[in-house]
């Protein structure tokens, strides 16, 4: 079953002479238990596509369906709720809340999502163990290494048991070895849970850990809708 269906999505920024087409008739299907790499140079539209799929941006035209939710036409409030409950984000850099401990960075989702605090706390403890962070659960981000911070970020993305994990340049601020470890870990966490995942990257070395690679250039998916394969 398709976890994400993108049909003829176009996104235009600005109007008239200043209009910039960031996405052009993009179509893409993503199945459950599939981890996809979105590969493209800077300014190619990959972040815009990720934003549209994550309910952060509304497309100018076309439809985006995640699970059974059609994102097109959702109000801002509904978009917020969708992001809190159905999507897990792993951002570029680490982007943890600096004054929350590793565990609190995960349990903060109890105040944001619809899941109960008890359930979130149980899941957070389980994830901390799986990610090898139990001993570091009470540490603030500044006391964690780069790899540990990224693992906390992965834990935060998974703690609400979302349908879809969106990953933005996870290796941008990590060295090759650490970057590889993090992407491998991401791939294994996503696959072991049977989730759908999309990773935006421009690092060709990382695509080997994904199921499929889709290239994007000037807002067009080069091998998108037909699910054509790898780099």
């Amino acid at each position: 079953m398709s976890a994400v269906i993108i049909q003829d999505v176009t996104k235009v920024y600005g109007e008239g002479h200043t209009a910039v087409k960031a996405l052009c008739n993009a179509s893409l299907n993503l199945d459950d238990n599939e981890f996809l790499a979105l590969l493209g140079p800077s300014g190619s539209g990959k972040t815009t596509l990720l934003s549209v799929i994550g309910g952060l941006l509304a497309p100018t035209a076309g439809t985006v369906t995640v699970g059974n939710i059609i994102l097109t036409g959702l109000s801002k409030k509904e978009q917020t709720r969708f992001r809190a409950n159905r999507v897990g984000f792993v951002f570029q850099g680490f982007n943890l809340v600096p004054f929350l401990t590793a565990r609190e960075n995960m349990t903060v989702m109890a105040s944001i999502s619809d899941m109960s605090r008890v359930e979130i706390e149980q899941r957070a403890d389980q994830l901390l163990e799986e990610l090898g962070l139990t001993a570091r659960r009470g540490n603030l981000p500044e006391q964690l290494s780069g790899g540990e911070r990224q693992r906390v970020a992965i834990g935060r993305a998974l703690v609400t048991d979302p349908d879809l994990i969106l990953v933005d340049e996870p290796t941008a601020s990590l060295d090759t070895e650490l970057g590889t470890q993090v992407v491998k870990l991401l791939a294994s966490e996503i696959k072991s849970r049977g989730k759908a995942g999309i990773m935006v990257t421009h690092d060709l070395r990382m695509v080997e850990f994904t199921d499929r690679t889709v290239r994007i250039l000037d807002g067009e998916l080069l091998n998108g809708d037909d699910s054509a394969t790898v780099s």
């Binding site: 409030k77 809340v97 609190e104 105040s111 944001i112």
Partner: protein, 374 residues
């Protein structure tokens, strides 16, 4: 909540600075308010202590207790007006008294015992018996002049000392100590001290009145003036504001206090504006992962509440310390009601300051969390 508390606990340095800034402004405001209250109380006690609803002045006295002169014979006409439940009399004699080598200003107030205008708050001793001459009630402020129960106060120019048989509270007149005596005693003292007024006969400065229960004070006041033709009757509140300097003093202090509160709001607003700017990326991330604007506003308000409440508590403590150190001659009054209303004002200004920053947070685009912009 979790976010709001954790940030304050783990980023103590910056929060201590904002709490300190609020504390100093609150301290300033509380001291100013205590001075304003102290001055107001000290200046207006004589008019408030009698619990009168209104005061009858002579029209040519133009609402001034010292300028107003009313023949005591008019009292029965005032008492007879419909709606007047009780009428008393107030006579004012500004004099000098001496205890040993020191002399001090004193306001001798003549009144009709057991009638409107009589000082109500007896804190020590007894009230003079009806018809008892040259005994009186002293304001507690006279204790600072060394006067105790049973002592006699001799007015400069008078041969008859007045024995203090009781102390009353909150009955000063324009910050002067007061001595409350019966109208008979007062008249004898007046004739002795101001022989030039003997020709005026039995006169007083005002008739304090109580109106019937449920009667409208303004309506009764107008009825008194219609009946007597030569009077101007005003409510006690109006009479208080007509005392020289009281209204001006109140408005000056109020202006300073209001400006200080605006400063509290601006300080909090600037502080939150700065941290909002600094946390822009963090807010973008929080919004991207599903934090709603009301959730973020709640956190902001909780932080503003903590900062202002803690600042207030500290400022309050400092003002109490100052109160202990101030000499008793400084007219300050730290009133619970003032402290509570200033607390509310501080918290409200803090919340307004925080809300001002919230507008910026609302404008942060959650999409900016992606692409390494945050």
């Amino acid at each position: 909540m979790q976010l709001a508390f954790a940030e304050i606990l783990r980023r103590r340095g910056r929060w201590v600075s904002i709490i300190g800034a609020v504390a100093f402004i609150v301290f300033l405001v509380l001291v100013l308010a205590a001075l304003a209250d102290g001055l107001f109380i000290g200046m207006t006690g004589a008019l408030r202590t009698g619990n009168a609803d209104a005061l009858v002045y002579s029209r040519d006295g133009r609402r001034s207790l010292v300028r107003s002169v009313l023949p005591i014979s008019d009292l029965s006409s005032v008492a007879a007006v419909e709606g007047v439940a009780d009428a008393g009399a107030l006579g004012l004699l500004l004099a000098t008294a001496a205890t040993g080598a020191d002399s001090f200003d004193i306001a001798v107030v003549g009144h009709l015992p057991e009638h409107a205008g009589e000082p109500k708050r007896l804190v020590e001793g007894r009230r003079p018996e009806l018809g008892e001459l040259f005994v009186g009630l002293a304001d507690v402020s006279l204790r600072a002049e060394g006067i105790s129960l049973g002592d006699s106060v001799t007015l400069t120019g008078s041969s008859e000392p007045v024995e203090v048989v009781g102390f009353v509270q909150d009955s000063q007149y324009l910050l002067a100590d007061t001595l409350w005596v019966s109208l008979d005693t007062w008249e004898r003292l007046r004739f002795e001290l101001r022989p030039e007024t003997i020709g005026l006969g039995s006169v007083v400065q005002a008739f304090p009145i109580l109106v019937d229960e449920g009667a409208d004070v303004d309506t009764v006041a107008a009825a008194v003036d219609r009946a007597l033709m030569t009077t101007e009757t005003i409510t006690t509140d109006q009479a208080i504001l007509s005392l020289p300097g009281v209204e001006q003093q109140q408005s000056t202090f109020t202006a300073i206090i209001v400006v200080s509160f605006v400063v509290v709001g601006i300080v909090i607003a600037l502080f939150f504006a700065l941290i909002t700017l600094e946390k822009r990326g963090q807010f973008a991330i929080l919004k991207a992962i599903g934090s709603s604007n009301p959730f973020l506003l709640q956190g902001l308000l909780v932080q503003a509440l903590i900062a202002t409440a803690a600042g207030y508590a500290l400022g309050f403590g400092l003002s109490r310390l100052l109160a202990l150190a101030l000499p008793s001659t400084v007219p300050v009054a730290f009133l619970l009601s003032t402290a509570l209303s200033l607390f509310l004002a501080t918290v409200v200004m803090g919340a307004l300051g925080a809300v001002f920053s919230f507008r910026r947070i609302v404008r942060i685009d959650p999409a900016s969390a992606l692409g390494g912009e945050a």
